[in-house]
């Protein structure tokens, strides 16, 4: 999880600093496009966020992007009601 970064200090020595890695962007399960309104935080940080800040309030929010959801809903209606 920690990135090792080499840093040269004023005395000329090289030290290793540990830098935190950012987790990957959340992606839509179908079209793999990056999702909006889903913060890039580690699970422990996300847990501290209020629920409405972790993902959009839409159906399948944080799992599907809005376009894929729109298509699925339209398909579902056309299939079911013809």
């Amino acid at each position: 999880m920690m990135l090792r970064v080499k840093k040269r200090t004023p005395t000329g020595k090289v030290f290793i600093h540990l830098k935190k890695r950012k987790p990957r962007i959340a992606r839509c399960a179908i079209c793999k496009k990056p999702l909006h309104a889903v913060p890039r935080k580690t699970p422990s940080e996300t847990r501290k966020l209020p629920k409405t800040k972790r993902r959009p309030e839409r159906a399948y929010g944080g799992y599907l992007c809005s376009n894929c959801l729109k298509e699925l809903l339209r398909e579902g209606i056309r299939k079911r009601f013809g």
């Binding site: 809005s66 959801l69 809903l73 339209r74």
Partner: protein, 115 residues
């Protein structure tokens, strides 16, 4: 299926996506007035873009800009509740909905105190 008054449709975008609603009035060629009503399907009475709606092959006989109660009774008449598996709100829920008093907006006095 054109969107005319009484047309039952589903919202495919926004917070209420995936929920059923009924068209009440045509506001312009891009917007219509829509209601769920809220106690039945969770869609508030609001203006909605036509792009965000997907029409269903069902139609309710309601007059233009009907009230939510009329829409609920129209739903019952067209016995759509079974088809769209909607739970009809009990009388208690309807009463509770009416009594829900909207909290008044925070008035300006707060600001004066700080000065």
């Amino acid at each position: 299926m054109p969107l005319e008054i009484g047309r039952v449709c589903m919202k495919v975008a926004g917070r209420e996506s995936g929920r059923y609603c009924v068209v009440l009035k045509k506001i312009s060629d891009a917007f219509v007035l829509v209601t769920g009503p809220k106690i039945l399907t969770g869609v508030k009475r609001r203006k909605c873009n036509i792009e965000h709606l997907e029409a269903l092959p069902y139609n309710l006989e309601i007059k233009e800009d009907a009230s939510d109660e009329e829409v609920i009774s129209a739903f019952e008449k067209a016995n759509l509740t079974k088809k769209l598996d909607l739970k009809l709100p009990s009388a208690a829920e309807v009463k509770a909905e009416k009594e829900k008093v909207k909290p008044e907006k925070k008035t300006k006095e707060k600001k004066e105190k700080k000065k």
